[in-house]
Symmetry: C2
Subunit: 196 residues, 2 copies
């Protein structure tokens, strides 16, 4: 059955960006290997080590829809309606779509709540997975019990401060199963199933 | 050459204890396996999986002295002058040793600063490693550039809030090498060399 996953690159001390939104060294691993992994965008090809390549291909081919927050959508200009993963994007936002979008966004859907966003993404994804790619949406979805698996590319760096992957929890600790572990170059890839 | 290491158990989201100092599920892995690893205390024997046992033996046998903060010393009553690792303890504190210590503490040394504490621990350790075991001391030592290797037993749980393993940094990001990775049961053991 299709899973609801998360994927972000995180510093060892838990940050997905600095205080100024700068991802710093978190994306270095995408460009330090000699295996080419094409993205869905003709202008972007990843260059990763062989183990990271297998992880990247699996994440990309398995993803049927992405869920993102409005902040990430705005920062990236909606990826020009063409996210590198190649999947349609569902944006969770209370504001209307941007007026100044460069053109129509046929592969982007706007929804008003996290529950609605994930439900819409599941419909779009069919039997493929839904991947949540914004920290604030991940935090809300975890608190709502809607996440099946946490995927982390853990980067060998300490940031000290910034935007956390995981935030406050409204209830008890969230228990996870032991992870599937793939050590790559400049990224340790971890997949933790969430316990129910 | 002897290294200055750190070792703590950390939740996936970066905490070494809850807001109330409760370690929660962080020490579960010490008791879920069928390999017995004796501690230095006759009343405490760990029961871990085979891979974790190798990590635990290496950490224990390699440790020539521990550095701890006063808070941890007070919480544990100074481990009764007999830390499970079996090494002498150096406590960094601005306050005098406790009056109400149950007896003399021949294996515990009190020093006034992190630099002094680590220097004293190095003298005691000789050609074995120094292990820092308190988050606040680790944070200060990292900011002083005094740490050679970060060792983390990363536990499959999210805490949401609490006491962080790594804190604010005074300068740039701290770059690490890719880790040595040992997946255990209920703990993923990671050793990250600190880049100079």
């Amino acid at each position: 059955m299709a899973k609801v996953m998360t994927h972000m690159c995180m510093s060892l001390d838990g940050f997905v960006a600095g205080p100024d939104d700068d991802p710093g060294e978190l994306f270095d691993w995408y460009w330090v290997g000699d295996v080419e992994v094409p993205s869905a965008r003709p202008d972007m090809t990843f260059q990763v080590d062989a183990d990271s390549a297998a992880v990247l291909r699996e994440l990309t081919s398995g993803c049927g829809a992405l869920v993102a927050g409005r902040r990430l959508f705005d920062i990236t200009d909606g990826w020009g309606d063409e996210h590198p993963v190649g999947a349609p994007v569902v944006v969770v936002t209370h504001r209307p779509p941007p007026d100044d979008a460069a053109g129509p966004l046929p592969r982007t859907t706007f929804t008003g709540s996290v529950q609605e966003g994930i439900a819409t993404a599941k419909e779009i994804a069919g039997d493929r997975d839904v991947t949540i790619a914004s920290a604030d949406i991940i935090q809300q979805a975890l608190n709502l019990g809607l996440v099946d698996e946490l995927c982390i590319s853990q980067i060998p760096v300490l940031f000290g401060s910034g935007l956390r992957y995981f935030g406050e929890l409204v209830g008890d600790h969230v228990m996870l199963d032991d992870p599937i572990v793939v050590p790559g170059v400049r990224a340790l890839h971890l997949r933790y199933p969430v316990r129910r």
